[in-house]
Amino acid sequence: MRAVRDVSFSIEAGSTFGLLGPNGAGKTTTMRMIVGIYMPDGGTIAWKGAPIDGRIRRRFGYLPEERGLYGRMKVREQIAFFGRLHGLVEPDVSARTQRWIDNLELNEYVDRPCAELSKGNQQKVQIACAAVHNPELLVLDEPFTGLDPVNADMLLATLRDLKRTGTTLVLSSHQMWQLEQLCDHFCIITNGENRVSGTLAQLRAAWTTRVIRIEPGGEAVRRVLQSVAGAHPLPSDDGALLYEVPASTELQRILRDLVAVEPVTRFEAIEPSLHDIYVRTIEGAA
């Protein structure tokens, strides 16, 4: 049993931070330590330079991976209840509750017990509960799980709004494209340890290869690419040629050589996606 061991990162205020890793890597435990559910037996966690105490924690919001609501409590009451738990008082609590009901399009359910809502709508209520007090730091563990594409887009827009108003976001998710759209910084952990961290540009810069796509892919083109040191073909299902070449390769030179042997209608250097970086990092760690 190893519930995290040596994870270290800093998050810029107002930024959006993606915490990635395979199941059992220690993401949830790390998040629970940030919001004070678990106390680390070593190391420190600080917010704006100060150790996190109850007063600071009240300015945080947390959406756990395991979803849960008071089943018999009505939607509006539930959101307001969590607002009060975070120190909101009337009339502020009612106003903010209504704002979140509007934002997440929950108006038709406000007077229904939460247990009667669909899983997706329950999740929206829980997100509202976590964020109703406009937290300085909002920690979301797998927030997109269980949402249909429309609701996932709605959540994405909501999180962008929160980011615009200065809320610092920490997210974990296995939906890479959503994280890629939302996050400024990433940290990939496995077995309770940092593997890579930084902005997407920094992660890409550290990538040792590049993928290029060429159309059409005639025999002459293949010969040119095979002559590039360290290049090797990747499978392609649309007739185009895909080659992975070392990151140090001068792409302009390859393009010149290709054009010289055959007409090329498309030459594209494909940046590694977050998904590629994640998979390669996890494979490397294994």
Binding site: R32, V35, G36, I37, G54, R57, R58, F60, Y62, L63, P64, E66, R67, G68, L69, Y70, G71, R72, M73, E77, F81, F82, R84, L85, H86, G87, Q126, C129, A130
Partner: protein, 408 residues
């Protein structure tokens, strides 16, 4: 402190808005009113069964009337009628028996014609008609016989809290109502807290709650809110009890107090010190039991497991209630005195002793001190169990694991 107040007020609002709370108060109030009025109702039913006609020797019928009215409702007197036919009873549907009195030499002959012989008590008939029988047998005058039968008995209270039997009886009735309220409130509200904690755990909302507020504040706020509402319930129920059961002014006469059919009591039998003792021991008992129940609630993974885990916790509360009932009748027996200091049991037993006897002040103080310390100890242990239990999913923890959490 802010966390505590937030949880406390939020929990109060949550419970006040729940229908179960309102319905619980109403059902309890109706139950208490029914309990108090039940004997009177039973009496009225019994009166229906005791409707009789008295027939026979006119002089005997005249003498027997006032004596029989203590136990029977005489619908009609039939002096001179000595023969009773079955039709006499079947025609008169509102009577249960016809009693025929005849003189026979130096004695009286009584025949009861009853629709249901089980409804007419021969012993009470004998007791009621005894003065007439003695008068016929001895030839004493009515006045002499009356004086002879009214044997003077003087009651002298020694080392007693009460001056009269009526006061003692009233105090016991009130103590019974309060103990019953104490028992019901502690049992119901403790189980409500346990269910509430278990619901928060099984519905997985616990993680959000614990991330929002300190677990100790969460637990103490819930228990304090529940205690406050239990006190409100108790005040309403006791007010209903007094409204339906108390009679104003002086205590009733000795005869009435001795009667098994007494259904009212005087508030003068309970002092303000008794009420203060009740409040203090109610609070201690409530905190001890509800804190334990809350800790147990945090250990379950399925609400179906609550019953099995709560069972052992119910035993001391039931035992305390039963010992307290004994204490109302015998407040100075060794078992009662010893248990009036034992945590979980003392809140019931010491209160019962206070109401029906003069408990030395040092004993009350010692019991309070022991129970305050025990309440604190239980709260510390329960807090540790709760903090870990709320986030512990999967297999229920083993006793060894719980023990290691407590020791940590």
């Amino acid at each position: 402190m802010n966390d505590f107040i937030t949880v406390y007020s939020a929990e109060i609002m949550r419970r006040l808005r729940s229908r179960i709370f309102i319905v619980g108060i109403l059902i309890g109030a109706i139950g208490i009113a029914a309990l108090i009025k039940l004997p009177a109702f039973m009496d009225s039913v019994a009166t229906q069964a005791n409707r009789i006609e008295v027939a026979g020797d006119p002089a005997l019928v005249s003498q027997a009337g006032p004596l029989l009215r203590k136990d029977y409702h005489i619908v009609r007197a039939l002096p001179g009628k000595t023969t009773v036919l079955p039709s006499d009873l079947s025609d008169a549907k509102n009577i249960s028996a016809i009693i025929v009195l005849r003189r026979s030499g130096h004695s009286m002959n009584v025949v009861v014609y009853a629709r249901d012989p089980g409804n007419i008590s021969v012993s009470s008939l004998r007791r009621d008609l005894l003065p007439i029988s003695l008068q016929i047998a001895t030839g004493l005058s009515h006045a002499d016989l009356g004086r002879a039968l009214k044997l003077p008995v003087a009651m002298r209270a020694i080392n007693s809290k009460f001056g009269t039997a009526a006061q003692a009886n009233d105090a016991r009735i009130i103590a019974y109502i309060m103990l019953f309220s104490l028992y019901i409130l502690i049992m119901i509200n403790s189980q409500l807290i346990m269910s509430s904690v278990a619901e928060e755990k099984t519905s997985r909302i616990a993680e959000m709650l614990v991330a929002s507020v300190n677990p100790s504040a969460l637990l103490s706020g819930k228990i304090a809110a529940s205690a406050t509402l239990a006190i409100v319930q108790m005040i309403i129920w006791i007010a209903v009890g007094f409204l339906f059961g108390a009679h104003p002014g002086a205590p009733p006469a000795l005869e009435a107090a001795d009667s098994s059919r007494a259904t009212t009591f005087s508030l003068s039998s309970v002092s303000s010190a008794d009420l203060a003792g009740f409040a203090a021991f109610f609070l201690l008992g409530y905190l001890q039991v509800s804190t334990m129940f809350a800790a147990v609630g945090s250990l379950v993974n399925r609400t179906e497991d609550l019953g099995a885990l709560a069972g052992p916790l119910v035993i001391p509360v039931v035992a305390a209630f039963l010992i307290a009932m004994t204490a109302l009748a015998a407040p100075n027996t060794p078992v009662v005195i010893i248990t009036s200091f034992v945590p979980l049991i003392a809140p019931f037993v010491m209160f019962a002793r206070i109401v029906v006897s003069d408990v030395p002040a040092w004993q009350v103080m010692l019991s309070l001190a022991i129970n305050i310390a025990a309440t604190w100890g239980i709260a510390v242990l329960a807090g540790k169990i709760y903090r870990v239990g709320m986030l512990l999913y999967g297999r229920p923890p083993k006793l060894a694991q719980i023990w290691s959490v407590i020791r940590s």
